[in-house]
Symmetry: C2
Subunit: 360 residues, 2 copies
C-alpha cells in the first residue's frame, strides 16, 4: 500500500468514523470514464464494459467507479485513441484493428487474416510474447490493452449472389472492416464501401451493396441482413477470432493504488471471460433462427481460401518490408501459430472432426 492510498484510506475511514457512511458511496475516491467504440445496441460488446464497471465497484466497495459511455456519447466511436493520448478519458473499449490508419501494427491485437483462434490468441498474449510486444508498441499512444472478450470465429459475411470462385469478388461492392483485411480484399478486386451500421440494411436491399461482413450470427441477426441477402458464408478467414479490448490510460493507471490496479486487471478478466462465453452461447441460437428463416449457409470453396491466403501474405510482406517492428511482431505471431497448429492437429481438431460427424 503506497503512501497515497494510505492517506485515501484514512480519509474514507474518517468519514465512516463520523457516522456518515452513505457519503462514501456518493463520492467514490476514484472515478474513471470509459468511452466505448460500440453502441448499446450490441449487448455482448457494450455489455462487457458494463460488467467491468460493476466488478470494479463491487470489489472496491464503491471506492473506485467507472462510468461507461457508448460510442458517440463522449466522442465519435473512433476518437477513443486520440482521447487516451490527450488524457481526456481514463479507458476505452474498442477493436484495435479500427486504428490501422495510425499504424498497421494495431491489427495484431484484435485480428489479422488467417490469424489465431480464440484460445490461441489468449495464449499468445498471456504466455507468449503477444502482450509484451503489443503493449511496448501501444506505450507511445499512452495506453495498454487487455481483452474485453473475443467474438470467437466470425462468419464470412452476407452475399446477394453466390461466391463460387475468386473471380466473383472482382468489383463486388462490400461493406467490410478496414485494415489488413481491407487491403487483402482490395487485392481480390473487392470495392470496399464505407457505410454506417444503421444504413447497411437499406444499402444491401437496394443493391448499393452486394455483400456485407459484420460479426457472427448473434450480432448479424440484429441488423436483419438475412432478409436482404440469402447467402451466409463461412468461415470468416479474416477473423478466426477477434479480441475486443479495454485500452487503459497508462498515466491514469499509474496513479491508482496497488489494490485498485489489481482490481481493474481482474475486473477485465471477468468481463472478457463472460463476453466470450456469451458469444459461444448465443451464436448457435441465432444461427438456428437464421437457418429456420431460410438463410443458406455456404462454405467458401478452397479456391477462394487459397486466393485469400495468397493475397493476405502479399499484404503482410509489403508491411514487413516497410516496418521492422511490424515484421518482428508478425514473425512472432506466425511462429506461435505454427506451434498451435501442430497442437490443434492432435487435440481439438480431430476430436471435433469425430463429434461433428456423428449423431449425438
Amino acid at each position: 500500500m503506497d503512501r497515497r492510498s494510505i492517506l485515501k484510506g484514512a480519509g474514507v475511514a474518517g468519514v465512516l468514523a463520523a457516522g456518515v457512511a452513505p457519503a462514501v458511496h456518493a463520492q467514490p475516491a476514484v472515478r474513471w470514464r470509459l468511452a466505448s467504440s460500440f453502441p448499446k445496441s450490441l449487448p455482448t460488446l457494450f455489455g462487457s464494459a458494463e460488467i467491468l464497471a460493476q466488478q470494479v465497484k463491487a470489489m472496491s466497495g464503491g471506492k473506485f467507479e467507472i462510468s461507461v459511455h457508448p460510442a458517440g456519447e463522449l466522442m465519435p466511436a473512433f476518437g477513443v485513441v486520440d482521447a487516451l493520448q490527450n488524457d481526456t478519458i481514463d479507458m476505452a473499449q474498442s477493436a484495435a484493428y479500427y486504428f490501422t490508419g495510425k499504424d498497421s501494427i494495431f491489427a495484431f491485437s484484435c485480428a489479422i487474416p488467417f490469424g489465431l483462434t480464440t484460445l490461441q490468441m489468449n495464449a499468445w498474449k498471456d504466455h507468449g510474447n503477444g502482450r509484451k510486444l503489443l503493449n511496448a508498441f501501444f506505450e507511445k499512444y499512452n495506453f495498454f490493452t487487455a481483452s474485453a472478450g473475443n467474438t470467437t470465429t466470425q462468419m464470412g459475411g452476407w452475399y446477394r449472389k453466390e461466391i463460387k470462385s475468386p473471380e466473383d469478388f472482382k468489383g463486388l461492392k462490400m461493406r467490410l472492416g478496414g485494415g489488413l483485411f481491407g487491403e487483402t480484399m482490395a487485392k481480390l478486386g473487392v470495392v470496399a464501401q464505407n457505410i454506417p451500421a444503421g444504413d447497411i440494411y437499406t444499402a444491401l436491399e437496394k443493391g448499393t451493396l452486394d455483400a456485407v461482413e459484420f460479426v457472427g450470427p448473434f450480432d448479424d441477426e440484429k441488423l436483419g441482413l438475412n432478409k436482404v441477402a440469402p447467402f451466409y458464408y463461412y468461415p470468416g478467414w479474416w477473423e478466426a477470432s477477434a479480441d475486443i479490448e479495454f485500452f487503459t490510460n497508462i498515466k491514469k493507471f499509474n496513479e491508482l493504488s496497488p489494490e485498485n490496479k489489481a482490481i481493474l486487471m481482474a475486473a477485465m478478466r471477468v468481463a472478457a471471460a463472460e463476453t466470450t462465453s456469451a458469444y459461444m452461447t448465443f451464436n448457435p441460437i441465432a444461427l438456428k433462427k437464421l437457418v429456420a428463416e431460410k438463410t443458406q449457409l455456404k462454405m467458401f470453396p478452397k479456391s477462394i481460401m487459397d486466393a485469400g491466403f495468397k493475397a493476405a501474405m502479399e499484404v503482410f510482406a509489403e508491411h514487413e518490408s516497410k516496418s521492422a517492428e511490424f515484421k518482428k511482431i508478425h514473425q512472432d505471431f506466425r511462429a506461435f501459430q505454427k506451434d498451435q497448429i501442430l497442437w490443434n492437429r492432435v487435440s481439438e481438431f480431430p476430436y471435433n472432426q469425430y463429434i461433428n460427424s456423428i449423431k449425438l
Copy 2:
C-alpha cells in the same frame, strides 16, 4: 458496504492513523486455507491456486489472504470434499470427476466422455444452465465451484503396443482416471489399474501396465512416459476438455464482506484464464520435444472412436435410469452440445481444417 465491513474498515484505518501500518499486513482480517488435490510438481495446476492467493491478497491490500496447500499437506488429495463438508477448510482445488464415487453427477463439472471442448464448457457454465444446475447439486456438499483453468483437449494416453481396433483394448492393463470414463473403458475390456503417479513410470517400464492416460504433453512429459511407451494416441475422447475447479465452502463464503466475495470470484477468473492459456502455450512446446525424442503420434482409428462412443452412451443410459437428477443434467449438457456442434461446423472447425492443411 455492509455494517460488518464498515467496522472492519474503521479498525484498519485506526491502525494506520496510529502509524503502525505494517501490522495490517501481518494480521489479515480474513485468512483462508485452500487444500489442493494436486502436487507442487504440476506447476500449471497447482500454480492456478497460487495465482488465486496472489490475486486475492493484491486486490484486498492484504486484508484477505488464502494459504494454499498442495495435496497431502493438510489431507490426502481426495479428502478435500469431506473437508469442505465438515468445515475443516475454506476452499479446495480439484477435478470434480475424482468424486464420482460419491455421485456420478460430479463428472459433469470437469469432463465426461465425448463432452464439451474448452470454450463450450465455459459457455455452458457461464451462460447455459451448467453452473446453475451443478451448484444446486453441490450445495448438499457445502460448496460451489468455479473454474481454476482447463487442461484443454487431452491426449488419449501412452501405449506400449499399437491400438488398431477395439479388440486391442481387451485385457489391456491401463492406468486411467475413474468415474464415467473408467466405466466406459471397462465395457471395452480395459483392466483399470490404480497406481500412484510416482509409480507409473516403473509400472509401464516393467509391463505391469500396458498403457497410461494422464493429461497432455506438458504434464505427461514430466513423468518421462515417452521413454517407456512409444505410442502416444489422440484425441482424448474422454476429456475433450477438463475443467479444473476451485471448490468454495458456502458457509465461509457467506461470511465474507461483499467486497471480498467479489474479489474472490474475480481472482478465480484470473487464475482460470492464465492457466488455460498456460496449457495452450506449453503443450505444443512439450509435444515438439516428445516428437523429437521419437514418440510416435497415432490417431485412434474410427472403429475405436465408434466403440468408445457406443460404450459411453450405454454408461450414460444406465446412470440416467438410476437418477432423475443425473438425467436432467446430462440432457441439458447434450442439448447445449448439439447447438455447439452446429456452430463449430461453420466456425472454428472449417477454419482449422484449412489453416491446419496449408504451409503457413
